[in-house]
Symmetry: C2
Subunit: 245 residues, 2 copies
DNA sequence: CGACGTGTTGATCTCTCTCAATTAGAGTGG
DNA sequence: CCACTCTAATTGAGAGAGATCAACACGTCG
């Protein structure tokens, strides 16, 4: 399988991708070791695995998860193209979470000390990584708020809106009707701390009410207003104004 | 109020503190703007606030939180001395979470572009910040697993163990009997996605069983084994070995 | 001394879980 | 082409963990 040079990285097609200087491309290229391609449901990183390298998700969807010893599991967040993987672990220690694919997926594998080299040789990219890491944390924050304090209906509405936004932002072919939605109901359940059955019932309820629709692995938003009302997201960063009592 | 120069930063007394070169001290010093001292329960950052600077928590405890418009709130994680605050927001955008103190607390305030300057002028410190950020995310990951998949008893056991470890690691005066525990039951509830009443009942149940004790704002672990069994934490990074059924 | 914050406990109520069964589609092999 | 198997989605029924409602105790404070 032919590997893509960083200068032709498919991520560049993404509207979210930041332009890089030729030097930055060379740097990335020099740290890149190879690519891995996985099929849906395959494990990229096993929980507790040591010495996992640094990855970038180039194409496809995946998720991070943690499990308890009796099998209960929680999906921490979903990974879309452009996301970094493995910034968490200091080299040498065990992965605190697993990473599993949702779709066919291609990962770019970097050498173990890439994180340090990146900082050392390009403060700009080092800074970007810090920011990306912080941003991923804020995704987990959102989910924690959902799981801790929102009802099942509200959680689902929130998940649909946030995933839709992320997926739509990556769309190159706009207007295709909805966005890809490769999650099974089990994934939704594991991502929201709900049981499979209750997830199904809630999803159907919202669908029957005409709020959304999931067909052929694509998510269509039918009534964003209503979903947003349920989710109680303040429109992109506007401060919550509420009577504090 | 006299401000402490970075070279005499009280954090240096902490066993967790990394030694810094004189140049790094100078760098921090040059980016530092001032200190803020807050009383318990005061707000350092309001949700939605714009232009919050970068802080370091020097002394005392605090927490990050998010709220819904009807007042439901979720504590995202607890902040102890040495933690960074505000890495999340790009300069100019709104804080996605608030920060409130639990005790008297002293924060070090840095200029707005400190994060970038730090990366630019010291890759080592830049690298450390990414790592700290990633580490904070892993704390949120732990909580998300708890809130999503653990029972009330298990959640509380997990919280007690993790907070005990963090607090103990900061202790300079060992053997003082327990560690400081400035949370009210309401904080525990908000941190674990439980109601106040149920938190109280569960806390009492564990206490009556002799697993722990909270007296005078200090937490004493009476039966760590039993708590760890409830929490189902694998001993510091050992991979979970289980029949996958 | 009354107001308030925190902790405690008992009595309901309900949202969500668990158990069970069924349907539909995709893939396999005979 | 048709049984057979698997996975994902669906629906109903009963059970339970945790929420909500209500009181009360205790200490601090203006």
């Amino acid at each position: 399988m032919a590997e893509t040079p960083c200068s032709l990285c498919p991520l560049k097609k993404s509207p979210l991708f930041l332009a890089h200087s030729p030097e930055e491309n060379d740097l990335m290229q020099s740290l890149k070791r190879r690519e891995v391609t996985l099929k849906p449901g395959e494990t990229l990183i096993r929980e507790g695995q040591t010495d996992a390298p640094l990855y970038t998700l180039i194409d496809g969807w995946a998720f991070r998860l943690k499990t308890l010893s009796d099998g209960r599991r929680q999906i921490l967040n979903f990974l879309l193209p452009g996301d970094f993987i493995g910034v968490q672990q200091k080299m040498g220690d065990a992965a605190a979470h697993g990473v599993v694919t949702l779709t066919d997926a291609v990962f770019c594998v970097f050498q173990r000390d890439a994180l340090w080299e990146l900082h050392r040789r390009s403060p700009t990219m080092g800074f970007n990584i810090t920011w990306l890491t912080a941003h991923e944390e804020s995704l987990v924050d959102d989910t924690l708020l959902s799981v801790g304090r929102r009802s099942a209906e509200e959680r689902i509405a929130t998940l649909l809106i946030l995933l839709f936004k992320r997926a739509a932002a990556l769309q190159t072919d706009a207007g295709a009707g909805g966005v890809p939605f490769p999650l099974t109901q089990q994934h939704v359940a594991d991502g929201l701390g709900l049981s499979l059955v209750h997830t199904n019932k809630t999803l159907r309820k919202l669908e029957r009410r005409g709020l959304h629709q999931i067909v052929d692995g694509r998510l269509h938003m039918r009534d964003v207003k209503a979903l947003a009302r349920l989710a109680d997201l303040y429109g992109d960063g506007r401060p919550p104004q509420r009577p504090l009592v």
